[in-house]
């Protein structure tokens, strides 16, 4: 194979956040040799091997599927294992910082348990009874719509970038965040589910805090159209239930908003 200029070994300079809390921690600069085709996570491994063996980095799959290696690269929330060096300006040092929204554990590792707490508040699916032949059926066109939501790898980059909690710590209590609106949309649009989560989505999960500025969609490594396909359709469903007198009258006269009558869900419904 002939060697092109791109394949020539070069050095890269990274500025990595080091420390155990955000006030005393700081960016430390490392220069390490890099090879063509490397991603930012590879550079972190080089730093561990050659300069700072105690650098804390969380990762698992190195294939963009486990959602462990979320960080902020040059200030943009990204997966370290899916960000190629060639996609970054070559002449400048690369800044690598931990996610800003979650408490810092050390260096690039944050404590994302906020998300696990939120996950616990979401009532699980409760399927409608099987048909006369003893089988439950879903149809392709119904599955197609919710399929996208199931691609989520729980990297929490969307949670991290969402300004509602990123810039306003006090909202964490009342707000579930985009990842969980994706989850709620999947359940809400589930063709066989019998629970109605709309009141919960409005009041408890705080859908109204989202101002649809779409940063979650911008950062999602799975390209889920979080705002257009999950959040806005949920907002429209909330409008029907709470802010639309016409829809209210229609429901009174013609019955529920949909065929399968749904029952309001409570937090304890798991």
């Amino acid at each position: 194979m002939t060697e092109t200029t791109e394949q020539v070994r070069r050095d890269a300079t990274v500025r990595v956040f080091r420390g155990e809390d955000r006030t005393s921690g700081q960016f430390v600069e490392y220069t390490v040799p890099v090879d063509p085709g490397m991603v930012v996570l590879d550079v972190m491994f080089r730093v561990q091997q050659m300069r700072a063996p105690d650098l804390a980095v969380r990762w698992n799959c190195k294939a963009g599927k486990c959602g462990s290696c979320s960080a902020e690269i040059n200030g943009r929330p990204k997966l370290m294992c899916m960000t190629r060096l060639s996609s970054l300006p070559p002449a400048e040092p690369i800044t690598v910082a931990p996610m800003a929204t979650f408490p810092l554990v050390r260096d690039l590792v944050t404590d994302v348990s906020f998300n696990y707490e939120k996950a616990k508040t979401i009532p699980a699916v409760r399927l409608a009874p099987p048909g006369p032949d003893g089988k439950r059926r879903m149809f392709q066109e119904e599955v197609d719509r919710v399929q996208e939501f199931h691609k989520c790898i729980e990297c929490f980059l969307c949670q991290n970038v969402c300004h509602v909690i990123r810039d306003h710590e006090e909202n964490k209590e009342a707000y579930a965040g985009p990842r969980f609106f994706v989850k709620l949309a999947a359940l809400e649009m589930h063709p066989l589910d019998t629970r109605d989560r709309i009141e919960m989505i409005r009041a408890r999960e705080g859908l109204g805090y989202c101002n649809i500025t779409k940063c979650c969609t911008e950062v999602c490594p799975e390209s889920i159209k979080i705002t257009d396909n999950a959040i806005i359709p949920l907002k429209e469903r909330v409008v029907s239930e709470f802010y639309d007198p016409l829809a209210w009258v229609k429901r009174r006269i013609f019955g529920g908003p949909d065929d399968g009558a749904k029952e309001p869900a409570a937090v304890a419904d798991r």
């Binding site: 956040f17 955000r22 006030t23 921690g25 700081q26 902020e72 040059n74 200030g75 943009r76 929330p77 400048e92 800044t95 910082a97 800003a100 929204t101 979650f102 810092l104 348990s113 906020f114 707490e117 149809f139 066109e141 119904e142 719509r145 970038v161 300004h163 990123r166 810039d167 306003h168 710590e169 909202n171 964490k172 809400e188 063709p191 589910d193 109204g208 805090y209 989202c210 101002n211 649809i212 500025t213 779409k214 940063c215 950062v219 159209k225 705002t227 257009d228 806005i232 359709p233 907002k235 429209e236 469903r237 909330v238 409008v239 029907s240 709470f242 802010y243 639309d244 949909d258 065929d259």
Partner: protein, 255 residues
């Protein structure tokens, strides 16, 4: 729940030109608002037969140069545009796409992703005034009606005194109504009303087809927002220049 202290990271670490998009929005919308205001307060210059500016349509007040519905329906209290302009204003102001844009560019909440909010307190759309955004669906009903009137105007634009014809104005009016239509019918509320509210599509092929069609154009909703805005201005400007005698309308009339 554990708390985060992040003062050290409050700085903007982004090094790309993140301020370019908000700047474009401020300039684009700013220019439009100025133009719309100047043209909206005029009491003449919006009608050059058979073209009627979308800003003044439907023309229903007594001081109109032409009556959209054959006769005056309202007294001549204000410039004609004032009677209808609140519909597109309410519709666009509560549009999900425009909300995203002005929350970013004007309110700076946030100005760009991973760039801090300008204000320390934030309630989003849970409290007054932004809870009022929930009326968007109502504005959509009215905007859809208004679009029918615009379509009627565009068809009239091919009807010359000597018979059927095509002028540059007719072409502009058609483009205007096409982009307006794409904008209005790619709306997220429209997507909801056209089947998005269903959990089960099976056995509802018409709803599913409608929802799929709207979903397809919905992905370009922002583009249609800007294009429709641009063509409303171009059409109005063209008609005003015709009225002022600055240009003439190239046209072919078949008779």
């Amino acid at each position: 729940m554990a708390t985060t202290a992040l003062p050290a990271q409050r700085r903007v670490l982004r090094r790309d030109l993140w301020w370019l998009e908000p700047l474009f929005i401020v300039v684009g919308l700013g220019l439009f608002v100025v133009y719309a205001f100047v043209t909206g307060v005029q009491t003449s210059g919006y009608h050059y037969a058979p073209y009627l500016s979308p800003f003044a349509s439907p023309c229903i007040s007594a001081n109109c140069e032409t009556y959209s519905f054959g006769r005056a329906l309202l007294p001549a209290w204000f410039p004609p545009a004032f009677f209808v302009v609140w519909i597109p204003v309410a519709f666009r102001a509560t549009c999900y796409f425009l909300r995203r844009s002005y929350y970013r560019a004007f309110f700076w909440s946030p100005p760009a992703c991973a760039v801090p909010d300008a204000r320390s307190g934030y309630t989003g759309e849970t409290a007054f005034p932004f809870i009022l955004q929930n009326v968007h669906r109502y504005a959509w009903y009215l905007a859809a009606l208004l679009w029918v009137v615009d379509l009627y105007d565009a068809l009239l634009a091919f009807h010359f005194p000597a018979g059927f014809g095509i002028g540059l104005g007719s072409v502009l009016m058609i483009l205007d109504v096409v982009f307006l239509g794409l904008y209005v019918f790619s709306c997220h509320s429209c997507r909801y009303l056209c089947g998005g509210y269903l959990d089960r599509f099976h056995g509802k092929p018409v709803w599913h087809r409608m929802w799929s069609a709207v979903s397809r154009i919905n992905t370009r909703h922002g583009v249609f927002f800007w294009l429709s805005l641009l063509f409303v201005v171009l059409t109005d400007l063209y008609i005003r220049l015709l009225v002022a005698g600055v240009i003439t309308d190239p046209r072919i009339v078949f008779g």
